[in-house]
C-alpha cells in the first residue's frame, strides 16, 4: 500500500487509519533513509497529531479530498510556520519560518499531512542532489547512482515507498529529471498555476511547484489540491484552476502528439534511452493518438538561454542571505562588510557560488545586453517555437533526460556538461508550459522518463495523455529492487 491511490482508498474504506499511515511512513524512513538520505527532517509528533485529527474528521463524515489523511514530504525549500527550512544550505542553518507557504496552507485544507522535508540540491541548483549540506541523496534503483535533482529527495522517497507523494519544485527540470531517474511521475504545472508564495526563490520567472507521485492520476489529485489563484503571488494565474482529475478518461484517441525533430537527433543522448522513449510514444499511437513531427528550431540554444536567465535572477534572489536577520552569520566579524563576505562565502556551496557569480556577471555593466538581454530575447524565440508547434499538435513528446541515472560524483568536475543535459527540460520553464515525466521503461535496469509538454494552462490534456499511457502500460508499477513496499504487495 505504497501509492497515493491505494492509501487514499484504504482510508476511504476505513481499512487503515491516517495515524497508521504516518507511523508506517516513519518506520520506512527509519529503515531506508540511512541508505538513501532522501529525508532531512521529520515532524513525527506533529504529524501524528494531525493524522489523529484527520481520522476523527473523516470518521465524522468530513473527507476533504483524496489526499485527506495521507502523509507527504515537502521539498526543503517550501516554508511551513514553526518548522525549519534549509534549502540544503549551511546559510539557512537554524532558520525557522514565521509563516506558511501557500502550498502548505492548501495541503492542510485538503487534509494532507506534511510528515517532513526532503533533500535537495542547495537552493535547487543542481541535477543530482549531491550539492547538499545534508550530504548526497541516493537512487533507490542503485544507491551508487544519483536520484537526480534538485528535487531528488522527493523522488527517491516516493520511489522507495517511504511516502506516497511529495512536492518538488522545478526551475529547469528539477521535478521531471529526478522523477525520470527514480521511475516515478513528476509534473511541472504551467507557470503561475501553483502559488510560489513561500517557495524559496531560485529563479522567480521559471520556478514552479509540482507533485511527484506514482501516477498521472495521483498528480492530478495533488494538483487539484494545490493549484489555483493566490492573491499573494503577483504571477499567479487569475482564473480558477479547472479540476484536472475530472479530465482523465484513459482515452488518447484523436489527440495529436508532436515529436520534435531536434529531440530525436540523438547527438549526445543515450541511444537506448531514445529508443525506449520512441517505443513508448508508439504505444500512444496504438492507443489512437496521431504522431507528427514538429520543429523546435531553437532547441540548441535553450540551455545557454536558461542558464543566463536563471543565474541572473538567482544572483539577486540570493542576496538576502547576508547573515543580518536570519540564518547563519559568520563568527568574529568586526564590520558589516566582513559579515556579508564571510557569511556568504562560508554559507554557500560551490555550485551556488558558481551560479551567483555567473548571474552577477551577466547583469553587470557592460555585459547586460550581450548576455542577459540577449537571453531574454531568445526566450521569446523559444516561446514562439512552442506556439507554432502547438498549432499542429496537442502534446509534445520526447525524452525527459538524455540518459539514465548517472553515478554519484561522476559529473562533479564538469558543470557545463551537466548543464547541457538539461536540454529537454528547460524549455518548458522558459516558455512557462506544463510538462510531465512518466516512467516508460528500463534501460540497463534503470528507469527512463518520457516527457510530455503541453499548452500553457492545459494540464488537463497533458495529464489525460499521461494517464492514458499509464492505463495501457505498467512501467509506473515497477519498483526498485528490494523495494520496501514489495513485501506488502
Amino acid at each position: 500500500m505504497d501509492s497515493l491511490e491505494a492509501q487514499s482508498a484504504g482510508l476511504a474504506a476505513a481499512e487503515v487509519s491516517s495515524v497508521e499511515l504516518v507511523d508506517a511512513a516513519l518506520a520506512r524512513i527509519e529503515a531506508a533513509d540511512a541508505t538513501l538520505n532522501a529525508v532531512v527532517g521529520v515532524r513525527g509528533d506533529a504529524a501524528r497529531a494531525e493524522a489523529a485529527a484527520a481520522d476523527a474528521r473523516r470518521s465524522a463524515g468530513d473527507r476533504r479530498s483524496p489526499l485527506d489523511g495521507v502523509p507527504l514530504l515537502l521539498k526543503d525549500n517550501m516554508v511551513q510556520q514553526g518548522e525549519p527550512t534549509t534549502c540544503s544550505s549551511r546559510i539557512l542553518e537554524g532558520f525557522v519560518s514565521p509563516y506558511d507557504s501557500t502550498v502548505v496552507t492548501r495541503l492542510r485544507e485538503a487534509g494532507a499531512i506534511v510528515l517532513g522535508r526532503s533533500n535537495m540540491d542547495e537552493f535547487a541548483m543542481g541535477s543530482s542532489t549531491e550539492h547538499s549540506v545534508h550530504g548526497p541523496a541516493h537512487n533507490p534503483w542503485d544507491t551508487g547512482r544519483s536520484c537526480g535533482g534538485s528535487s531528488g529527495g522527493s523522488a527517491a522517497a516516493v520511489s522507495s515507498g517511504m511516502l506516497p507523494f511529495a512536492l518538488g519544485s522545478d526551475t529547469g527540470g528539477s521535478i521531471r529529471q529526478p522523477a525520470s531517474f527514480c521511475g516515478v511521475t513528476g509534473l511541472k504545472p504551467t507557470y503561475g498555476r501553483v502559488s510560489r508564495f513561500g517557495l524559496v526563490a531560485f529563479a522567480s520567472s521559471l520556478d514552479q511547484i509540482g507533485p511527484i507521485a506514482r501516477t498521472a492520476r495521483e498528480c492530478a489529485w495533488i494538483l487539484d489540491a494545490i493549484a489555483g489563484h493566490d492573491a499573494k503571488d503577483s504571477t499567479s494565474i487569475p482564473e480558477p484552476a479547472p479540476r484536472v482529475s475530472d479530465a482523465l478518461d484513459g482515452d488518447v484517441s484523436g489527440l495529436t502528439i508532436g515529436m520534435p525533430r531536434e529531440y530525436f537527433e540523438e547527438d549526445g543522448a543515450d541511444p537506448e534511452v531514445v529508443s525506449c522513449v520512441r517505443a513508448a510514444i508508439s504505444e500512444l499511437e496504438r492507443g489512437g493518438a496521431k504522431l507528427i513531427e514538429v520543429d523546435l528550431p531553437h532547441t540548441p540554444f535553450v540551455v545557454s538561454t536558461y542558464y543566463l536567465v536563471a543565474t541572473a535572477e538567482a544572483s539577486s534572489n540570493l542576496a538576502r542571505y547576508d547573515g543580518a536577520r536570519y540564518g547563519r552569520r559568520a563568527e568574529g566579524v568586526s564590520d558589516v562588510d566582513e559579515m556579508y563576505r564571510r557569511s556568504r562565502s562560508e554559507g554557500f556551496g560551490d555550485e551556488v557560488k558558481r551560479r551567483i557569480l555567473l548571474g552577477t556577471y551577466v547583469l553587470s555593466a557592460g555585459y547586460f545586453d550581450a548576455y542577459y538581454r540577449k537571453a531574454q530575447q531568445v526566450r521569446t524565440l523559444v516561446r514562439a517555437d512552442f506556439e507554432r508547434a502547438f498549432a499542429q499538435c496537442d502534446v509534445i513528446a520526447g525524452p525527459t533526460y538524455p540518459e539514465v541515472a548517472f553515478e554519484l560524483g561522476s559529473k562533479q568536475d564538469d558543470p557545463i556538461n551537466m548543464y547541457l543535459s538539461d536540454v529537454y527540460t528547460v524549455s518548458a520553464n522558459l516558455a512557462g508550459l506544463p510538462a510531465i515525466s512518466i516512467p516508460c521503461g528500463l534501460v540497463r535496469d534503470l528507469p527512463v522518463g518520457l516527457q510530455l509538454q503541453g499548452r500553457a494552462m492545459d494540464e488537463a490534456t497533458l495529464l489525460r495523455v499521461a494517464d492514458g499511457f499509464q492505463g495501457r502500460t505498467d512501467h509506473h508499477d515497477q519498483r526498485p529492487p528490494g523495494h520496501l513496499g514489495q513485501a506488502a504487495r
Partner: protein, 100 residues
C-alpha cells in the same frame, strides 16, 4: 579567446559579496569562461527586432487594496536574528558611507 579574466571574477565576487580562495578564483575563472564561451552561440541569432521576455505569463498587474494588517508579533519577527538588542536587529558596524 579568453572571455573571463581573473580580474573579472574578482570584481564580480566583490559585487556579490563573496570572498573567494585562490583555488576558487582559478576554478571559477575557468568555469565561467567555458559557460560564456558556450553562451556566445546566442550571438548567432538575429534578435534585432525581438522583444525580450521577462515573464512567462501575461497578466493585468495584480494589485491589492490599501488595507493594513497588523505587523508581525515582534518576537516572531526577531526570532531568527543572529543578534538583537531590544527589538532591533544588530549587525556589526557599518564603515562606508550611507546609502539611500
Amino acid at each position: 579567446m579568453q572571455r573571463i579574466t581573473r580580474q573579472d571574477v574578482e570584481r564580480t565576487a566583490d559585487l556579490a559579496r563573496l570572498s573567494l580562495t585562490e583555488a576558487e578564483i582559478v576554478a571559477l575563472t575557468r568555469d565561467l569562461d567555458r559557460i560564456l564561451e558556450h553562451a556566445d552561440q546566442l550571438k548567432d541569432l538575429d534578435t534585432e527586432s525581438t522583444v525580450p521576455t521577462a515573464h512567462a505569463i501575461v497578466l493585468p498587474t495584480p494589485q491589492r487594496a490599501d488595507e493594513p494588517v497588523p505587523g508581525m508579533d515582534v518576537e516572531s519577527a526577531l526570532a531568527n536574528a543572529p543578534l538583537r538588542e531590544g527589538s532591533a536587529f544588530v549587525v556589526p558596524k557599518v564603515i562606508e558611507g550611507e546609502e539611500s
